[in-house]
Symmetry: C2
Subunit: 547 residues, 2 copies
Amino acid sequence: MKIAIAQLNYHIGNFEQNTTKIIATIGRAKAEGAELVVFTELSVTGYYPHDLLERKEFIEQSYSALDRIASHCKGIAAIVGGPSINPEPRGKKLFNSAFFMYDGAIQHVVNKSLLPTYDIFDEYRHFEPNRSFKVFDFGGKKIAITICEDLWDEQETQNEFGREKLYRLSPLKELSALNPDLVINISASPFSYNQENWRKNILIKNAIKYSLPILYVNQVGAQTELIFDGGSVFISKEGAILEELNYFEEDYRILDTETSVSNLQPESGTIEKIYRALVLGIRDYFTKMGFRTATLGLSGGIDSALVLVLAVEALGKENVRVLLMPSRYSSDHSVNDALQLARNLEVQYEIIPIQEMVASFEQSLSGIFTNLKNDVTEENIQARTRGILLMAISNKFGNILLNTTNKSECAVGYGTLYGDMNGGLSVLGDVYKTDIFRMANWINRDREIIPVNTILKPPSAELRPDQKDSDSLPDYDILDQILFNYIELNHSPEEIVARGFDELTVLRTVRMVNMNEYKRFQAPPILRISSKAFGFGRRMPLVAYYP
Amino acid sequence: MKIAIAQLNYHIGNFEQNTTKIIATIGRAKAEGAELVVFTELSVTGYYPHDLLERKEFIEQSYSALDRIASHCKGIAAIVGGPSINPEPRGKKLFNSAFFMYDGAIQHVVNKSLLPTYDIFDEYRHFEPNRSFKVFDFGGKKIAITICEDLWDEQETQNEFGREKLYRLSPLKELSALNPDLVINISASPFSYNQENWRKNILIKNAIKYSLPILYVNQVGAQTELIFDGGSVFISKEGAILEELNYFEEDYRILDTETSVSNLQPESGTIEKIYRALVLGIRDYFTKMGFRTATLGLSGGIDSALVLVLAVEALGKENVRVLLMPSRYSSDHSVNDALQLARNLEVQYEIIPIQEMVASFEQSLSGIFTNLKNDVTEENIQARTRGILLMAISNKFGNILLNTTNKSECAVGYGTLYGDMNGGLSVLGDVYKTDIFRMANWINRDREIIPVNTILKPPSAELRPDQKDSDSLPDYDILDQILFNYIELNHSPEEIVARGFDELTVLRTVRMVNMNEYKRFQAPPILRISSKAFGFGRRMPLVAYYP
């Protein structure tokens, strides 16, 4: 069977744009002789609409978009994802559904059985799970439709009480009993660099286990924090990957299920994947919010340097302007490194020294602060003065402020709320400092884009004389490993110590993570590239006892 | 049967404190001749621990606390809430359970069947639902234990596709078939002023329907945003409320199920309830975070006036200090009204005019802003300068900054991010402006605490000459009704217009709400007093198409 794979990027709630894109792709697939074109999970609404699903007008718009799309399915069939209303008098009022359209109408509705409700997923909040299974005939084949998590019935629990299974039901087991010829899975699986092979392995394992070919069609594009990476694949019943679509961009391909031969993407390294994910994350945030231009503060340090490189790649150098805001504690080399980078990347830059504004605050507060020693207060005034200046640029010129905090800092609270934690989007909030060094070196692989001095000098916030990050924090190579064990792997402090880390360092690190929930509560949305990012997917009580 | 009702306030994750409190109450109940003492849902951990439930060490601590508590149940039984591990190899790894303890050990574990996963509730994220039912004998009676939502099987769906039922199962129907003599329900039901009678009605309806007495024991105290109001009740099988415990404070009472007669709380008005809820919310935030003192900016306007009154009630006048930060646009009467209030409440105050710092910013930006008109940029610089000053006080003296934004402003984005939106806790972010006027008048019912001029003058941000809120916003009495229809009632713009509101005003208001998700994303936690507060219970996509 000739099937068109439509790996597209959708805008949540933009029914007009999503529908137009889907209808155009149906037209193209038909013109190219496809019998069926497959779109992704909740394609008509965009994934994930969250509580927009509770709004009646949203569901009505979704149904009319689906009807409009179905009217174009003449001489070709399409599978389109969208919410459907549960006809039963009890249970959640919606299903997460795949609509099979043919002859100008919706012919079948297949509902999702396994509803991920962990990490960044909230599907049971809105959807009733499916409990009955069917396959149907099309083009001489029996087709079984599944939706994303439906193939993940072997998913292990997210906690550590044993390596057991999260779900009680196996949709593929139920469906295989109905003897399908082909399994189609429409998905919205977000990227995470430390689970990249897991997805393919699950698909291959299932194809072999049930001796069934699987067509997996995944969405691409970023939705606030989440970055969907595409990489749709067709897998033979022997478990061989025969087709693989592009990563981090829209793609479209006609597949012949009978004659397909191996057509795979080149392998790329983890750092390159993260880089491409972040570029897509920035670009889609701007495009989908209707913004064009960005600003950020360039300190001469590695974090802001990396954000600038990413922003220029995502938005174009003409759409990024930077501000250098040296204080009396800024070293000459910091200013020079920042200038060099701005020139290397040919972005507009301005310099505003902050000393006068800081002095004005200190003067105004001197009456109240009489006889009190300088402390973090004065450091924060500097960071917050910079925050005001950047937001003034943002307000005056409509440039969105990009936040430059990295995951290591964000974890331990090494940053100033309403100061350097400002921004519309956190670009690096899910990237550990050690990976930031790796990415900077990767960016410089052919020529020096980021000044080498920026990469080599010891990290410093430069908020007091001779300050270094290592004055207050463990070395990043140790810190990041402890954080990864605690956050991504969810290990207890005792387990981390048992893996060979110094006990006091572990306890101090864990304590810093826990005590700074209040700062992260007010952080910008963070582009997610790992299996456990700060934000929506990690819900810790702010008010709690953290020993 | 003599049952002690333990309506207590717990600290999430503070096993030592929660356990000590529970054991002390068991001792008291035993000394006073009770046969059984009933605690609330997840009492040993505090409700709601969120993703702490995914941490192995958290569950281990919880189990050892439960064992310690059980060892004190000699000559008395206790029902204590806590997570229990699901012994099955498939499904979520935890149940939300009630532990029945007697003879120094856990005798029965009853698991929750209906897991609320909507609004502020996330229970299916962590728990497997119970599917089997049992009653057991104690003290010559057959007892059926249920947990909170288990009695809410008639819950209607949260959306508007019809008035149907959220759950497929009715635990009370299953249990009543086992002929219990008494239903005990352990709960963690948060307060919301517009659902206050709903809870009692559900309990009464169930008691009558199944002809069973119901003892409902609810937790009290605030957990970040959520305010639990207590108000535990015992209801006869005829549906009469025989005992009712205090609201918004810990309470304890011995109930004789055979001889109990009507012992109810006095009715109080909605505004008074909201006031008590907010005071509890502030007090518990501070107590449980280990903070003692607060600060806020006093503008002479009604919002900051109200926050100050609430803070003084919650923390004591000696623990609150305020800052007056007049600009060149502040009217004399604003400064005088603020001073008068500070004096009326006898709190420490300081005055720092902001003009010099604002001028310093404008001077530093003048090169970049050459030939550009003044706009919201300059207004925001004022608000952000105040934000820096307040955070400097907070940093230097350890006073937590209270945010003074109200729900109407928060909804339409009438506020400055990193400026007046700063704070550790938003006190009024779920209180509409019209209710703020009502509460100010209620506070002044006996004498003028809040200067009358503060209440009577037209609301203004005073960020430019002669500015009034009504320049940019509909009148608050109209605005608040539209917002309530859109946010609390989830009505579509069309439905709101059909209720008699001006179409352009409705569309403009809805648009302002939708376009400001990005500001609310970075807002402080908001004390929740309504059925739909901004924050954790209202999850809207930030990047989406909002027409």
